[in-house]
Amino acid sequence: MNLSEIHYPHTLQELMLLLEHERKVQIVAAGTTFGCIQDSRYLSFEPSIVYIQHIPELSSIHKTERMISFGAACTLSELEHVYPFEHKQAKELLHTIGTSAVRNIATIGGHLMYGKRFLSLWALLACLDAELEFRAFSKTSTKNIWYLADEMGLPAIESGRLLTRIRIPLQSIDYLFIKRIGGSIFPDGDGAYLVSAATVDRRLISDFKLVIAGARAYRNYDAEQRIISAPYPLPARILQSALRMYAESLRKSNFWNAELLLPLISQALEDLRQSNT
């Protein structure tokens, strides 16, 4: 049982100073993940813990005309009534995470930075082009959410950086398809989420994304490009051509079960062909 030193910074500046000077630091917002995955009575952390829930900048939500931005220490419950979770299906997805007593303490930052796999909201946020703001002592950088996945689609969390904010461009979600595949998502089940989102503008599909995320994350840019700019409802020949592209890349990946996923992708595209926005 190793005891850790606990720090309670009250500003981002204090936090950055701590991260600069301490070597093995564990950043903790709510600590629910640690409480969940450690089944012993006593918890175990790195020699030094930084508790970030008292930093106001990390718990605020801002909305502008073009984007919404929430701090990494916002709880999942706090996000329930803001974009994109005001959308019925997105809210239902959020509600699949634990119960309200879990969502009242679990934070979006902890959810995204889990590191062992991509949890429930990852695929949705990837479909909506979420950007993540990271801070290190001397610089701030903004990266697309795909920065958290390596070229094989495996989780890739870089140490020494602090996720401070999540920004999502505001766009009309005209079509959203969410399906859960397999068993449990957390902490290490075989489950994954398939999420597809599209925006329709003047009878044209102006934006389309389809992301699968679980143990790995998957997206086929070429197939998406095949669909973007297509007329709405999606013509059958474009649907078939996109489906062939997905089939080929899934089989090539040697990881995803193409026979399981292709009917779901087909269903997602079929909905786009038949839905009436």
Partner: protein, 159 residues
């Protein structure tokens, strides 16, 4: 290290270590009697407390996260009208709450009644989802909460 927090309206100063769960600290150092042994997975609901007015599983939280927070357990509510009305309505409906879930269920009821006196039925049912208990039917709980609200309204009108 020492931390301070508000427990049931009284300030507590306790010595904690990084390895302790909030649940254990509340039982051992603050002598909270209403928290039974739990699953430590945030499933059973036996460790439910209110943190800054919101239900949370204390078994999932490290003790150090309680610093400067307001924590309430069912002890805080047992002498209120809301508690006695809800308890009596549940008993009248023939619901015998099992000892391990009693506190969690009553606490969820108290949190809901504090938040709103016009809850939708779905909202009441969702509240109960925080406690995993087979001894109570969600519909019976919803009926008891709605009747409690009626009693409270009458009690407020009575001088």
């Amino acid at each position: 290290m020492n931390i301070e927090f508000n427990l049931n309206s009284s300030m507590q100063r306790v010595t904690i270590t990084s390895v302790e769960r909030a649940l254990d600290m509340l039982i051992r150092q603050c002598d909270v009697k209403s928290l039974p042994g739990t699953c430590l997975e945030g499933q059973c609901g036996g460790c439910l407390v209110l943190i800054d007015n919101k239900p949370a599983y204390s078994c999932l939280m490290p003790a150090f996260t309680l610093r400067d927070r307001r924590v309430e357990t069912i002890e805080y509510f047992t002498k209120t009208r809301e508690y006695s009305f809800l308890y009596s309505e549940l008993s009248k409906g023939g619901t015998a709450l099992c000892s391990s879930c009693h506190n969690g269920i009553m606490l969820m009821g108290m949190a809901l009644l504090r938040r709103t006196l016009t809850p939708a039925r779905d909202e009441i049912l969702n509240t109960l989802a925080n406690v995993h208990c087979d001894s109570i039917s969600p519909d019976d709980f919803a009926d008891a909460v709605l009747k409690t609200i009626q009693h409270l309204a009458i009690a407020r009108k009575t001088p």
